[in-house]
């Protein structure tokens, strides 16, 4: 996915990002589950990167983070920084390993949520928020990761469905698909 992304893909990512961020702010943040709120934005960044690669992942992470910070009047640049790193790492995972297991979205979603929550907390400590590292804080972080992991699979399905038609053909996946449908042999060798 090192090629320049198509305009259709960029538009889809932009629209999906805006919809998800406003849905997060307007609905998901108002519905506590086990005392915490799910956070869809790190999942969105991770899954866009997992489908589109590191460059679009990092750029998308920066833009989505900026949108979150602007919309919620938070410290500008904080969410962008954390999400840029999440987007880049998830994109690199796809480029280097291209994991195909069914549980990949679950693991990537949990990891992205963990990096988001822990990274955010570390940044807040660095910026001088006077907070004790209490059991309750750790509980909130762990519960946040669990809740995000629960919503990771539906979120993955939505992101993949929205972006699927605009994703460029990946030669590695084409080879893998052909090998799968022909039992690992080229159609020529079978003949």
């Amino acid at each position: 996915m090192s090629a320049t992304p198509s305009a259709a893909l960029l538009v889809r990512v932009a629209v999906l990002s805006i919809v998800v961020v406003f849905f997060q702010i307007g609905v998901v943040s108002e519905v506590p589950v086990f005392g915490v709120n799910a956070d869809l934005s790190p999942l969105l960044v991770a899954f866009v990167a997992l489908l589109c690669g590191s460059m679009l992942g990092a750029a998308g992470g920066f833009a989505i983070g900026l949108l979150v910070d602007l919309a919620l009047l938070q410290t500008l640049g904080l969410t962008s920084l954390v999400f840029t790193l999440i987007g880049y790492w998830c994109g690199r995972l796809r480029e280097l390993r291209d994991p195909q297991a069914a549980l990949t979205p679950l693991i990537v979603g949990a990891s992205a949520s963990a990096v988001s929550l822990v990274g955010y907390s570390l940044m807040e400590f660095l910026l001088g928020v006077d907070a004790p590292v209490s059991f309750e804080l750790l509980r909130q972080i762990v519960l946040g990761i669990v809740v995000n992991t629960i919503v990771a699979l539906p979120m993955w399905a939505i992101v993949r469905r929205v972006l699927e038609g605009a994703l460029p053909e990946d030669p590695r996946r084409r080879r893998r698909r052909r090998a799968y449908t022909t039992g690992g042999l080229s159609p020529l060798s079978r003949a």
């Binding site: 307007g26 915490v36 919309a71 009047l73 928020v129 907070a131």
Partner: protein, 303 residues
């Protein structure tokens, strides 16, 4: 790498500038633009939110019913006792011509919550009323259950409200009908708890007692909340050496805010003048200094 550097630059610039700075201005402008969209989206998505909320509410309903029955019995007993005290109080007020600042001195502006922060580090909500409706920075925000927070940023058609569980907030408060005042502050990372600090060490307090605003300020940045607004109930008492502190559970359900009221006060009105007086007091360095500030502000509030 470029994006990381850009994020760090933004972060540094934002953190270093004053609230009236350029980046804060961009945020306020963005809020002005997206506030109507957020408002529309909030109304459109309300059924979805209500559906999720219905499941949660049903699960908690039985426990709440039992607790409310006990509370009703207790309040009935208290009401009988309070009615006698109220008569005495009215007589004293008329004898000494006391005139306390109350909610009636403010103009409540009803607003809808259109956004909420999803993380545990910021406890803020966005409302759909701003400077066009008379909302100003530091205005107290309440709902039917009690104190919610105060306004920290204002755009023309929207405002940001710091909830009482936000790390940046502190409210001067007292317990029930006592005269002992302290400062209610959040326990960061524990979104359901507050801490009322700097109570006298020998002060007797019981679980379940109500914590209300004292109508005073502890520092120039504080909002002058009207006295008597319920903040929460005492859940446990911490014994410390010089001062006593108590854990407080907020009365307002801050997880599920829908409609709130901003207590606005126009320029030249009594609450506005008192807020101005409070803002000119020297910065409190601790409980000793803050009590000086509280005393001055209280004098003003007392008319």
């Amino acid at each position: 790498m470029l994006l990381v550097v850009l994020s760090l630059l933004l972060l540094t610039a934002y953190f270093g500038e004053a609230p009236s700075g350029r980046l804060h201005g961009v945020q306020r402008a963005f809020l002005t633009v997206v506030s109507p969209i957020q408002d529309g989206a909030n109304k459109a998505l309300k059924p979805v939110r209500d559906l999720f909320g219905w499941f949660g509410d049903t699960l908690h309903a039985k426990g709440q019913r039992d607790a409310l029955r006990k509370q009703t019995d207790r309040l009935r007993r208290e009401l009988v006792a309070d009615q006698a005290e109220k008569r005495s109080y009215k007589e004293l007020i008329s004898i000494y011509h006391l005139d306390q600042l109350g909610i009636n001195d403010y103009h409540p502006v009803t607003a809808t919550v259109v956004g909420k922060t999803p993380n545990i580090w910021y406890s803020t909500v966005t409302i759909d009323k701003g400077s066009a409706a008379g909302v100003r920075v530091n205005d107290p925000v309440i709902n039917g259950e009690g104190l919610v927070g105060k306004v920290v940023q204002v755009a023309s058609d929207g405002a940001q409200v710091d909830l009482i569980t936000d790390s940046a907030i502190g409210v001067s408060a007292r317990i029930g009908t006592s005269n002992a005042t302290g400062i209610v502050q959040p326990k960061v990372g524990e979104p359901n708890d507050l801490l009322l600090q700097y109570l006298p060490a020998n002060f007797q307090v019981n679980n379940g007692e109500y914590v209300v605003t004292s109508g005073t300020v502890a520092s120039p940045d504080d909002s002058l909340y009207p006295p008597g607004i319920v903040i929460g109930q005492v859940t446990s008492v911490n014994e410390e050496s010089a001062y006593k502190s108590v854990n407080v559970r907020p009365s307002a359900n801050l997880h599920n805010l829908d409609i709130v009221q901003v207590l606005t006060a126009g320029a030249g009105t009594r609450p506005s003048n008192l807020s101005h007086l409070a803002s000119t007091l020297p910065t409190g360095q601790g409980p000793t200094n803050s009590s000086t500030g509280e005393a001055l502000a209280s004098t003003g509030a007392g008319g």
